[in-house]
């Protein structure tokens, strides 16, 4: 159950380091344009470059390796799947063939290449996203999104949901343990039923909490207006500098990405 808190909390982003100090708008701008280049790249170097730079950057702020790997586990397994599937299906030239329980599996070169290409894009893209999320707290993100003209209502909902998932999750885990200690999970059928009860209680809780929270908001003058006081710091020189830096870096990346290797 700790898994939940672990993955969704922005503990790393709350630390103070050179990356978290960068203005969120700059980071968003970088991430979006780099993701675009990553998608567009015609070789595996650009994505792998992004991957390695992300790792170096994340290590430079002392992010534990296991935290990075935990986040990347799912995409990596997805990437490997794609590699296998593509390797088995695309192309003609045999590269390796082996037989497992009567099935003859043949990996082909073209397929493996294009699989590797996609694979690298997955890794590159994911590492960029992780670098962003490991260095940006949710409130900064909200502020940044607002600057990018994302509708206010959506940002409010994002902040609200993010705040309360942990609380509701803790309540659910207490209920879960309470059920478990009365043997509510003795068999598969009971477990399904207990999950239903738990989820029903969860919705009821959420409903009551919404009412109480609304009362608390109402007495502080809420009448359907905004709930966020977005306080973006003004642009600094460094921020302009990094913005302009991108203008020089992007063409280079694009040029490199255009080199067709295979």
């Amino acid at each position: 159950m700790d898994f939940f808190h672990h993955t969704f909390s922005d503990v790393y982003a709350r630390k103070n380091n050179w990356l978290t100090r960068i203005d969120v708008r700059v980071k968003l701008f970088y991430v979006i344009s780099l993701l675009a280049i990553n998608l567009w790249a015609k070789n595996i170097f650009i994505p792998l470059l992004f991957l390695s730079i992300s790792f170096i950057v994340l290590f430079s702020i002392r992010t534990p390796l296991f935290a990075i790997l935990r986040s990347m586990l799912i995409p990596i397994s997805f990437a490997i799947l794609i590699l296998i599937v593509k390797g088995l299906h695309e192309g003609e030239k045999e590269w390796l063939s082996l037989s497992i329980v009567g099935y003859k599996m043949t990996f082909r070169e073209e397929g493996l290449r294009s699989g590797l290409h996609t694979c690298s894009k997955v890794l590159g893209g994911i590492s960029l996203v992780i670098t962003f999320s490991f260095t940006t707290t949710i409130s900064r993100l909200c502020a940044g999104l607002k600057w990018f003209y994302v509708p206010n209502t959506m940002i409010e909902l994002l902040a609200f949901m993010y705040r309360y998932i942990f609380l509701l999750f803790d309540e659910v885990s207490t209920m879960w343990t309470a059920q478990k200690s009365r043997l509510g999970h003795a068999s598969w059928g009971k477990m399904i039923k207990s999950s239903g009860v738990l989820c029903g209680l969860l919705i009821m809780r959420a409903f009551d909490r919404a009412e109480r929270t609304y009362e608390a908001m109402y007495v502080r003058g809420y009448d359907g207006g905004s709930i966020l006081t977005v306080n973006l710091s003004p642009w600094r020189k460094e921020d302009y500098a990094s913005f302009i830096g991108m203008v020089f870096v992007a063409p280079m990346l694009v040029y490199t990405g255009n080199i067709y290797v295979w």
Partner: protein, 290 residues
């Protein structure tokens, strides 16, 4: 001077529960009023009337001699701040600073004024250093303080709290109550607090009201109210521990007292002074059975 006047208020929930039967109560400017009462006696319901969250079905509420109806709801919110029991319901913004700024923002204040008020409120509750923390990273007692700051940032004249000490450890209770006492004494904020902890009352409050079954059973200073033990017991309450001891000494062991000491300090004073006037020890008061 009476700042808030509750006149024959009745309230019934949609399901027919008579939560308030007939409540009348005067709250004076600058006082620290405790509202005691058993579970379900209507404390929370009453508190919600104090800033118009619930509207009385009968009777009315006067703020500074004017009926609530003559105020806009914004004016009332500004004058009366309310802090509910569960701090998690009240802290919805991602960071402490934003949460405290929520009230002033809704008042439509200027940016500078908001920043000033937030910093001010945070320093009142001694939480300046946490301004940039996320709400989840705070302890229960700290959350409670931020809730109070969020209300203080609206500069209310009256602060209403619903069981603020529940779930806090003794040190936390003392620090919270000291904070409230200071807000009440130094900053002249009228404080109304619903609580179940009888022991706190003689230490911090100068007036209390006992609710029972939707109406006010009794109101007055702690000495007045705690002097009638039957009534207290009837309302499912207890005397404060010290008062219990002194009451037994008075009633069972016939130690004469003009008034029941309620706090440790008072009891000590009384017990020490007893030594001096030996003549008044009753000779027969020695039969006891424990």
């Amino acid at each position: 001077m009476v700042i808030l006047q509750i006149r024959n208020v009745q309230y019934q929930y949609y399901d027919g529960t008579h939560a308030l039967r007939d409540v009348s109560l005067d709250i004076r400017r600058g006082e620290f009023l405790a509202i005691l009462g058993p579970n379900g006696s209507g404390k929370t319901t009453l508190l919600k009337h104090f800033n118009g969250l619930l509207k009385p079905m009968k009777g009315e509420i006067l703020l500074e001699q004017k009926s609530f109806k003559q105020y806009s709801s914004r004016e009332i919110f500004q004058k009366v701040g309310i802090v509910f029991q569960d701090p998690n319901d009240q802290l919805f913004a991602p960071s402490v600073w934003e949460d405290v700024a929520f009230g002033p923002l809704n008042l439509g204040l200027s940016k500078d004024e908001i920043a000033y008020r937030v910093d001010d409120a945070l320093s009142l509750v001694d939480m300046n250093l946490c301004a940039n923390k996320t709400v989840d990273a705070l302890s229960f007692g700290q959350k409670k303080r931020i809730c109070i700051a969020g209300v203080l940032a609206m500069k209310p004249e009256i602060l209403v709290l619903d069981e603020p000490t529940c779930g806090l450890d003794p040190a936390g209770v003392t620090s919270l109550m000291t904070l409230l006492k200071e807000l009440n004494g130094k900053h002249g904020i009228t404080i109304i607090m619903a609580t179940n902890t009888v022991d706190l009352v003689p230490l911090y409050m100068n007036r209390l009201a006992i609710m029972y079954h939707g109406s006010i059973l009794k109101a007055g200073t702690p000495e007045q109210v705690f002097s009638n033990i039957e009534e207290i017991r009837h309302a499912c309450l207890e005397l404060p521990q010290i008062a219990q001891l002194m009451q037994i000494l008075r009633d069972e062991d016939h130690l004469p007292m003009d008034r029941l000491p309620l706090t440790v300090g008072e009891a000590r004073k009384f017990l020490i002074s007893r030594q001096h006037d030996n003549h008044s020890w009753p000779a027969i008061g020695l039969k006891y059975s424990c």
